[in-house]
């Protein structure tokens, strides 16, 4: 039973972790893009 629990917790932490990483990447990029856009249109 513990093995079952272990397996499923591993599966979901990894998937959730990947989604979190993706979200973080997207956020950082969004921020950068916004900054650059502002900078590019400023002048």
């Amino acid at each position: 039973m513990t093995y079952l629990f272990l397996a499923y917790s591993i599966i979901w932490t990894l998937i959730a972790g990947y989604i979190v990483i993706l979200g973080k990447r997207q956020k950082a990029l969004k921020k950068e893009l916004q900054l650059l856009d502002e900078w590019n249109t400023e002048q």
Partner: protein, 236 residues
């Protein structure tokens, strides 16, 4: 166009959540407990689904690699890269769950069973592929080199499987069809349904992650372009 793809993403997301819970319900509550292996057998559903997606992702890499070589296009290059990344994720999951299953049913963390060993080598090829993509240079060059490596890698997978199968075919329980006399090897209809449902869910998850990843990668390129523009502006 942009709105439409955003809509698909949202729809997929809201479809995925209930499906994941439904899959978990089928796995843990609805489907019967296997009489020989007991509760740990329930690892099997997601283990198989993840393995399926891992191989699917790898062949997707191969497919887009071939297309990149035929006609270089940054879209194919990005698709192949994201697929490889998700492939690494699911291969890792397959390996870990496979090990746990092995521990619970054969009391050993690792066996050189063909499918598991092939998955391990697949993992190494994936990682090598990602290393190739990390090389410096214009994307055209990297697209070409990584596509070439991707194709060689895909050719290799069936051979690896065959070699390891010949090398050692002892331990894997044959769940489907060709087990001896079908006893202990058969699969009950609810189990089959649960398995298929899980495979479908994970495949959908793969598609969702692919879309998400591609979107992010496109953003990265937009950032790069904007950066170049800014630099050009600075340079005068």
């Amino acid at each position: 166009m942009k709105q439409k793809s955003g809509f698909i993403d949202t729809a997929m997301f809201y479809l995925l959540i209930p499906m994941v819970f439904a899959a978990l319900y089928f796995v843990f509550i609805w489907s019967p407990v296997e009489k020989f292996m007991g509760a740990p057998q329930k690892i099997f559903y997601f283990h198989v689904s993840c393995a399926w997606v891992a191989f699917l992702a790898f062949f997707t890499v191969g497919y887009y690699s071939v297309r990149t070589l035929i006609k270089p296009n940054i879209k194919f290059h990005i698709h192949a890269g994201i697929s490889a990344e998700i492939g690494v994720l699911f291969t890792t999951i397959t390996l870990l769950t496979g090990m746990i299953w092995g521990k619970s049913s054969w009391n050993t963390w690792w066996t050189w069973e063909p499918r598991l060993a092939t998955t391990l080598i697949l993992w190494f090829i994936y990682v090598a592929y990602l290393f190739v993509r990390r090389m410096e240079g214009s994307w055209e060059k990297i697209a070409k080199l990584s596509a070439v490596f991707g194709i060689i890698g895909v050719i290799n997978v069936p051979i690896v499987f065959m070699a390891i199968r010949w090398w050692n075919t002892k331990l894997h329980p044959v769940v489907f069809g060709d087990g001896k006399n079908q006893d202990g090897g058969g699969i009950e209809p609810p189990m089959l349904f649960t398995l298929l449902f899980c495979i479908f869910t994970i495949t959908l998850l793969y598609a969702y992650l692919m879309r998400k990843g591609i979107e992010i990668e496109k953003m990265r390129h937009a950032v790069k372009k904007a950066k170049n523009k800014a630099i050009n502006r600075l340079a005068g």
